[in-house]
């Protein structure tokens, strides 16, 4: 891309390897830039941006309760980030984590209710969470199979399945007296609670072991991508499907397996929400939007499993700060907008990693010709 300005032209070139300082500076500058844009909007709305930002740091990080709140919100986000990551590594666009999470929550709650008090402790919890992961994987397979057999665009099919899942969940709680619904509460429909022995153990306050599971999932995924034949094949197929075929790898089966792993991670996030936070199938409290946010988290983490953890915590801290802002007269909703602006800025900032800009005498101008 060349842009001529007088006798000079601005040349934009792709670069394969950004220097280390650019890799650090680009996102830092983007975050700063995003905060400035946010500040302008907050200011224009007649509120105090400096106060809002200071308060956000306080309410998001500083102290035990803010930190616990942030980590609880980060837990499902880490998992949906990983779900997006594993698919994106193979250039498969699973944007159905939302629906896979919901189906995971439905299955986990169902399994939890079915177990009741029958299987106590760790075993019961494992079975419950496994049901969530399995449901997420199967829900993803609904999009993966048409992709493998008819080459149906998985972007749209996974997206559409989100809303199908959402309506299934709503039906189970709001529109029917289903197995999931607490039949005694008629005026205010809600889900039936699972047995207390299936609650995920708490670490401190509301913080439950789901966080460990999510971080462990990041570690396992990192390990699986690096140290297993499956991970090796995913990497090769993602980098060049032709090279994968050349090396005798079955590309279709890989698409299927990767989408199902992706769905399982999102489903696990749903299961953990049920077991750790909601303790029932609760459409109102199930953190919606986490599936979509996970996609951006994965992109911001540059598809690195361990990168997903801090990015998710950062995003969660902004979300968590929201309600606290009310007390200082700043609308709590500001945080959602700020997240979006930061996402847009950081994604745009990634451009500087892949490109360099320099100014040179224009080609064809006298300066460029040999004398």
């Amino acid at each position: 891309m060349n842009l001529a300005v007088g006798a000079r032209e601005i040349v934009v070139e792709r670069r394969p390897l950004p220097p280390l300082w650019v890799r650090a500076a680009a996102p830092t500058f983007s975050v700063f830039f995003g905060l400035v844009i946010g500040a302008v909007i907050i200011w224009a709305a007649g509120q105090d941006p400096v106060l809002a930002y200071t308060e956000m740091v306080k309410k998001g990080f500083l102290g035990r309760l803010p930190l616990i709140g942030t980590l609880v919100i980060a837990t499902p986000l880490i998992l949906t980030g990983l779900a997006a990551l594993v698919a994106f590594r193979m250039k498969i666009w699973n944007i159905g984590a939302e629906g896979q999470l919901i189906m995971g929550a439905v299955a986990s709650a169902g399994m939890g209710l079915w177990i009741g008090d029958g299987v106590g402790g760790p075993v019961g919890i494992v079975i419950m969470l496994a049901a969530g992961a399995a449901a997420g994987a199967l829900w993803a397979a609904l999009a993966a199979l048409p992709r493998a057999y008819f080459n149906t665009d998985e972007v749209i099919s996974t997206l559409m399945l989100n809303f199908v899942a959402l309506n299934i969940m709503n039906y189970l709680i709001f529109s029917s007296i289903s197995y999931w619904r607490d039949a005694e509460r008629v005026t205010f429909p809600s889900g039936r609670g699972i047995s207390e022995i299936l609650f995920l153990p708490r670490l401190s306050g509301r913080l439950h072991i789901g966080l460990f599971i999510a971080v462990a999932a990041a570690a396992v995924l990192w390990w699986a991508l690096r140290y297993t034949r499956w991970g090796f094949e995913v990497q090769v197929t993602g980098d060049s499907p032709r090279a994968a075929r050349y090396a005798g790898m079955g590309v279709d089966r890989k698409i299927l397996s990767v989408l199902m792993v992706s769905g399982a991670l999102a489903g696990l996030a749903g299961g953990i929400e049920v077991g750790g936070v909601l303790h029932s199938l609760d459409p109102r409290a199930l953190s919606l939007g986490v599936g979509f946010a996970g996609i951006v988290v994965a992109a911001l983490a540059r598809l690195s499993p361990f990168g997903v953890v801090p990015v998710a915590v950062f995003v969660a801290s902004i979300t968590n700060a929201g309600p606290g802002l009310q007390s200082i007269g700043v609308s709590s909703e500001v945080v959602l907008m700020l997240e979006g602006i930061l996402f847009l800025c950081i994604v745009a900032g990634e451009w500087f990693l892949r490109n360099t800009i320099r100014v040179q005498p224009a080609a064809g101008s006298p300066a460029a010709r040999p004398a």
């Binding site: 891309m1 909007i41 709305a45 007649g46 666009w93 944007i95 048409p146 008819f150 080459n151 149906t152 665009d153 972007v155 749209i156 099919s157 997206l159 559409m160 399945l161 989100n162 809303f163 199908v164 959402l166 309506n167 299934i168 709503n170 039906y171 709001f174 529109s175 029917s176 939007g289 979509f292 946010a293 996609i295 951006v296 992109a299 609308s331 709590s332 909703e333 500001v334 945080v335 959602l336 907008m337 700020l338 997240e339 979006g340 602006i341 996402f343 847009l344 994604v347 745009a348 990634e350 451009w351």
Partner: protein, 315 residues
């Protein structure tokens, strides 16, 4: 009795179908230029909340709609810059736009509740035709019973069908979305085309959002679009990128949204949730049909260069 309930549900389907149609028409232009903008829900909310605010201040619906469309277009401009100039992944950019627009609307909506309610209903939402015509059997409520935005949307459908498939400009637009290199060689600016029509898409979403909030609900609540932006995205696919089909599909989707309620009245119990999920299921089915590639379906598949960035050097 039964007929009138069904008729009523169709008429109200026109109401809810109109914002879907306006946003979907906009996205159709965007996608015909080869850009995919997943951010409709965010643009509807962002444009809608500002448009609504304008309508409460000035009680002028045309002004509100214009401002809503302009704000939607501004949101889309961000997407165009990221997707066309920076060549960012369009899925990521579009989703980030959903989050931004939703958050922006929530923020504006939370600022001052009293500014976002009407002291009196807007007169401009009165039906266009007189009572005599509205009371005609069948055609009365179906054809003559609407406010002027509905008629505007019909005009836009006809104009879009004409613009896209009968004019020189539509030809250029579709060429950019099909084969940008071919368009580039004959002197059509791929970048300009994609910027313009991405913003047209944003304007459609802003228009739809404003009509939804100001015209149908007359108040703003967090998440008021309730997924209508996503239905608009599905609409484009389900309609095979054709305006007249989009009109029909928008009302089918609208009927599905209201039918559960109406059916319950007449004693048929199909849960509304199933009907709400149906647009998405239908779209997946249509998509699989298209990709299974029967020769007729070829006509109704996505523009070939959809979501693919273009640069002249990398051929």
């Amino acid at each position: 009795m039964n007929e009138s309930v069904i008729l009523l549900s169709i008429v109200s389907a026109v109401g809810i179908g109109t914002p879907i149609l306006l946003a979907g028409l906009g996205e159709m232009y965007t996608e015909h230029s080869g850009v995919m903008n997943l951010g409709i829900e965010g643009m509807m909310l962002g444009g809608g909340v500002v448009g609504f605010w304008v309508s409460t201040q000035h009680t002028s619906l045309p002004l509100a709609l214009a401002v809503g469309a302009a704000v939607g277009a501004l949101f889309a401009l961000v997407h165009a810059f990221l997707a066309v100039t920076l060549r960012v992944n369009q899925i990521v950019s579009g989703l980030a736009l959903v989050i931004t627009g939703t958050g922006f609307a929530a923020f504006i909506g939370s600022l001052n509740d009293s500014a976002l309610t009407y002291e009196r209903p807007l007169s401009s939402f009165e039906p266009v035709f007189g009572e005599g015509m509205r009371d005609l059997p069948l055609v009365g409520p179906l054809v003559f019973g609407h406010d002027w935005v509905v008629y505007l949307s019909w005009v836009l459908v006809a104009a879009s069908a004409f613009w896209l498939f009968r004019t020189r400009w539509g030809l250029s637009l579709r060429a950019v979305g099909e084969d940008p290199a071919a368009a580039d060689t004959v002197g059509i600016s791929v970048t300009a085309t994609r910027y313009i029509y991405t913003m047209v898409g944003g304007a459609g979403a802003g228009l739809g959002g404003t009509y939804l909030i100001a015209g149908i609900f007359s108040n703003y609540q967090h998440g008021i679009t309730a997924g209508l932006g996503w239905i608009a995205f599905a609409l484009v696919i389900f309609a095979g990128w054709r305006p007249w089909r989009a009109l029909a599909a928008a009302y089918i989707f609208g009927v599905l949204r209201n039918l559960g309620f109406s059916l319950q009245i007449i004693g048929v119990d199909i849960p509304a949730d199933f009907l709400n999920a149906l647009p998405f299921v239908l779209t997946i089915a249509a998509l699989i049909l298209i990709s299974a590639r029967s020769s007729a379906a070829r006509k109704y598949s996505a523009p070939s260069a959809l979501a693919v960035p273009y640069s002249r050097e990398s051929r």
